[in-house]
Amino acid sequence: MVVSSDLIIQVMIWGLYAGCIYILLATGLNLIFGVMKIVNFAHGELLMLGAYITFTFYAVSGFNPYVLLAASLPILILIGVIIERTCFRPILGTGKLNEIFISIGLIYIIQNAAAMIWSDEWRTIHSPFEHITLKIFGVNLPLDYLIIVITTISILIILFLFMQRTRLGKAMRATSQNRKGAMLMGINVERMDMLAFGIGAGLAGAAGTLWVVSGQVFNPYMGSIPAVKAFAIVIIGGLGSIPGAIIGGLIYGIAENFAILTLGGAWKDAISFIILILVLIVRPTGIFGESAE
């Protein structure tokens, strides 16, 4: 295979764009985990819901799908809050296995409810910028990818500012560092749970919207594959660690593409789990995971 510098830049740009989806998912997972110490295995279903809600707005209004993100995001946050209140809060502290099992129930409910509402036929959203490709330093860069990268970075910056600068954000960080301590300081930790889950769901919904606008075909079962990948990344990087997630994502992306070139595309999913297992054998808490807890 001929490897040129152009190709490397090209591959990096594709990786960056695909990485955006995973980073949004992984950040949401990490946020929820940090505050609530639970893992929502139905996270991919929120991504799917985000895609469908944007699709519905798009079908009704015909607006630019990127603009519609602003409309679907609040709905996703609301759905996240409802799921947290009705499903996860009642079982908080009753055992980790219960969280995993309740997620399985949620997967069944959300996927099939979506199939009842929107049917399970394949859907597509065409971006208005589909045909615009910029040529920067000799590299082809579809405008859509650029918008997705910028949108993701903006979302992450807003999130960062929210966590660092606002009272609410600080309270959330306090909760994730020490729940009991936060409670003693008069922070309403249950409200923090709701908020964390809502934001996590919102990020997943944004990921879903960006995913389908970039040319992906979707149906109600589309969420599971990206979610599983985001999990692998989060676990490789260490639960609760944002820099870990970014490094995990990088390792993951390189390994996946390397597997395609050497072993063949059939190995793509398997290889990510092999890495996951190898990492966990060496460090059972992940690369950047806290060894305590």
Partner: protein
Amino acid sequence: MIDMNKTLGIGSKRARLLGVILLLLLAVTLPLIFGMNLYLLTVLVLMVIFIIYASSWNFLTYTGQGSLGHAAFFGLGGYASAIVASASGLSPYITIFIGGGMAALVGLFIGIICVRLKEWFLAMVTFGFAIIIQTLMVSQFADISGGWDGIAAPRLVPSSIPNYQLIEYYSIVLIAVFVILLFYFILKSKIGLAFAAIRENEIEARAAGIDPVKYRLFAFLVSAYFSGVAGALEIHNLGYITPEIFGVDISFWPIIYSISGGLGTLAGPIVGTIFITFIWDGLQSFGLTYLRFVIIGLLLVLIIIFLPKGLISLPDKIKGYLGKRQKKVQ
């Protein structure tokens, strides 16, 4: 201290015994009452196989572990048994135990990795192993596994023998009884106590000289072995095996069955499998399609929240509720 009742089931000893006898009686007589009814037999055979499978999966939870990828063992048992039976001409009744052995061997390997992991990681790793094994089956081992095309598996009892389906059914029931009795005796023994100790408080268990790794590995092995046997039974019943056997649905069913019946009890997976199977097929006869999945999902969520010990704890819960109300009235 550890309450044995909690491990084995809920309710008084007499009620439990009565339940077991009635269930067995029903299992034996049902096909006879309705004559040679193929549909009933098909449903019952699959149900009993899944009782074995769900019970094996549930065996893992006695040590506080869980798995999202038991289809790996179910499928491996099926493949190993089908391949050995077709190559050697041995009766499937022998090869199912070889299939179980294969599953246990891989289970040992996976277990060594998993026993040290936290629940979330464990869930992901087991989930991943089902995918890795499926990939291996269709690529590296395609020559012996038939790749994506799959391979045929001989029937448990050749169809030339009269009443072969009935013989098949009773033999599977017999195997199920054997497996559950075996679990019962393991859990009643010192091993069962050690399991409970590890589940309740790992640090205390360690202090008492119980090595959690050893016991968890043992639970993993036993669980993998009998999941493999269940998979082999299914394959010899269906007559054909394809890599789809490693699918997520096969991994999730035993979880749904065990949770709805009652996690960490012997009766739980049995009651859960029977209950969910009939709900599932019942809902279908009303023409529900997607809604059926939604209802199963809702049921799962509701049971986890309101009935954490599963359906088998429902009578006690009702009794407790009524008792409380009576007290209030007085």
